[in-house]
């Protein structure tokens, strides 16, 4: 056997020999399969249909809420507040870690919203302060204002999935 015949294509400067080809083919197919599995797993684990309560809450008749009242609905996690300017809804879910806050009429000059978990406090009725604004505590954001509207039957509706700019009151 002559010397030239022993030289493989790879050693000859041609890096494409059969073994390298099959290794690349195998690794390539496995990588594609792995990426596909990851995508498949992600899609599989993300539910397409959720059986969660509707974000839209019927809060009942507006006349049930007295002027200057703050009403907490613990089941839906919203405050319905009837201010002099009109109605508005605040989320009762603390912006820190999602605990349910509580209305404390006895605290502060005009009452405050306080979170039992880590002590965040929020203004509601203090003059010169936006309702929902943080007084103190670890909460990174104020309590969001939620979209309020009147249904065709005249009920107050609150959409928990839609946040609105503060100081937009619903006049009835």
């Amino acid at each position: 056997m002559s010397e030239e015949k022993k030289i493989t294509p790879a050693e000859n400067g041609n890096e494409f020999n059969r073994r390298a080809f099959f290794v690349k083919l195998g690794l390539g197919s496995l990588s594609i399969a792995a990426a596909g599995t990851a995508a498949f797993s992600y899609q599989f684990l993300s539910p397409n249909v959720l059986y969660e309560p509707s974000p839209i809450v019927n809060a009942g008749r507006p006349e049930n809420y007295a002027v200057d009242s703050v009403t907490l609905d613990v089941n839906s996690g919203i405050y319905l507040i009837h201010a002099q300017e009109g109605f508005f809804a605040l989320s009762a879910i603390c912006t820190h870690l999602g605990c349910l806050t509580a209305w404390k009429p006895e605290l502060g000059e005009h009452g405050i919203i306080a979170c039992p978990c880590h002590g965040s406090k929020f203004y509601v009725r203090d003059t010169g302060k936006t309702p929902g604004e943080k007084i103190e505590g670890p909460a990174p954001k104020p309590l969001p204002w939620l979209q309020t509207s009147l249904s065709d039957e005249g009920d107050l509706m609150v959409d928990r999935s839609k946040q609105i700019d503060p100081m937009k009151f619903l006049r009835v």
Binding site: P47, E52, G98, C99, L100
Partner: protein
């Protein structure tokens, strides 16, 4: 001649059936003792020989072994609890109460499971402090320290996922707070939160996901890493010795067999 129990046992060890199961055979020479460890599927993870000093209480306070003990109790009590627990919103809380007040020994099993879980978290931390302050995490054992940190995380995740299962107020709010911490992950925080709970709020999907993680996925991963952890003790030269030998020797990865003495 009267035979002692030991004689009978030696005879049993010599039978063909016994020898088909345990291949090391009769005798108690160092070789036989070493083979008994090496040829047993459970024991072969460990060194065939260890220093007797390494087995004394003061060396390790048995913290790793005690952690394994609590893990085994948790598996042993957790499986029976699964027979009476349905991971569904209408039933989970009632089943937990049934386990306490209706099922025979249910209260004992549930409390044993709960206290062992607390003990395991405590023991894992104690074990890590002991390893850290003895300096046993240093080369050649640095990778086993990493495995240990993974095991710490698995332990905490097991504890966390188990916390939701009673489906009471404490469970609900603890998981609400805990999963909101996951939302703080930059960029993909909300996706992580959504995938973790299988929804936007702690609900039926979250309960089922935590149940599967708690009873299936995390224990299997834990067993895998515990096996690696034990195997690495042998591969890294046995339990760490820190007074009996010069630092230069202690720092080298010497196979336990070449420097150990037989277990007495």
């Amino acid at each position: 001649m009267a035979k002692t129990i030991t004689n009978y046992f030696e005879e049993l060890r010599g039978t063909r059936v016994w020898r088909s199961v345990f291949r090391s055979g009769t005798g108690s020479s160092p070789l036989h003792r070493a083979l008994a460890v090496q040829q047993n599927v459970f024991l072969h993870l460990f060194s065939t020989k260890v220093r007797t000093r390494m087995l004394s209480f003061s060396t390790t306070w048995y913290l790793g072994t005690l952690t394994l003990g609590t893990f085994l109790i948790l598996v042993g009590t957790g499986i029976p609890l699964m027979f009476y627990y349905h991971p569904s919103v209408p039933q989970a809380y009632a089943d937990t109460k049934d386990l306490q007040f209706v099922v025979s020994s249910g209260l004992f099993l549930r409390n044993l499971h709960r206290w062992s879980a607390h003990a395991m978290v405590f023991l894992v931390f104690a074990h890590m402090f002991k390893v850290f302050y003895r300096g046993a995490y240093r080369p050649p054992r640095e990778f086993n320290w990493v495995i240990g940190v993974i095991l710490l995380l698995i332990t905490l995740l097991l504890s966390y996922t188990g916390y939701l299962l009673p489906w009471d107020q404490l469970a609900f709010w603890a998981i609400t707070v805990g999963s909101n911490i996951a939302s703080a992950v930059p960029v993909m925080g909300n996706k992580v939160h959504f995938l973790m709970l299988g929804g936007n709020v702690v609900n039926a999907n979250a309960l089922l996901r935590f149940y599967v993680l708690h009873c299936m996925i995390l224990p299997l991963v834990a067993i895998l890493f515990v096996a690696i952890h034990f195997w690495r003790i042998r591969k890294d030269g046995g339990l760490y010795a820190h007074q009996s030998e010069p630092k230069t020797v202690a720092a080298q990865s010497v196979p336990a067999v070449t420097k150990g003495v037989p277990v007495q």
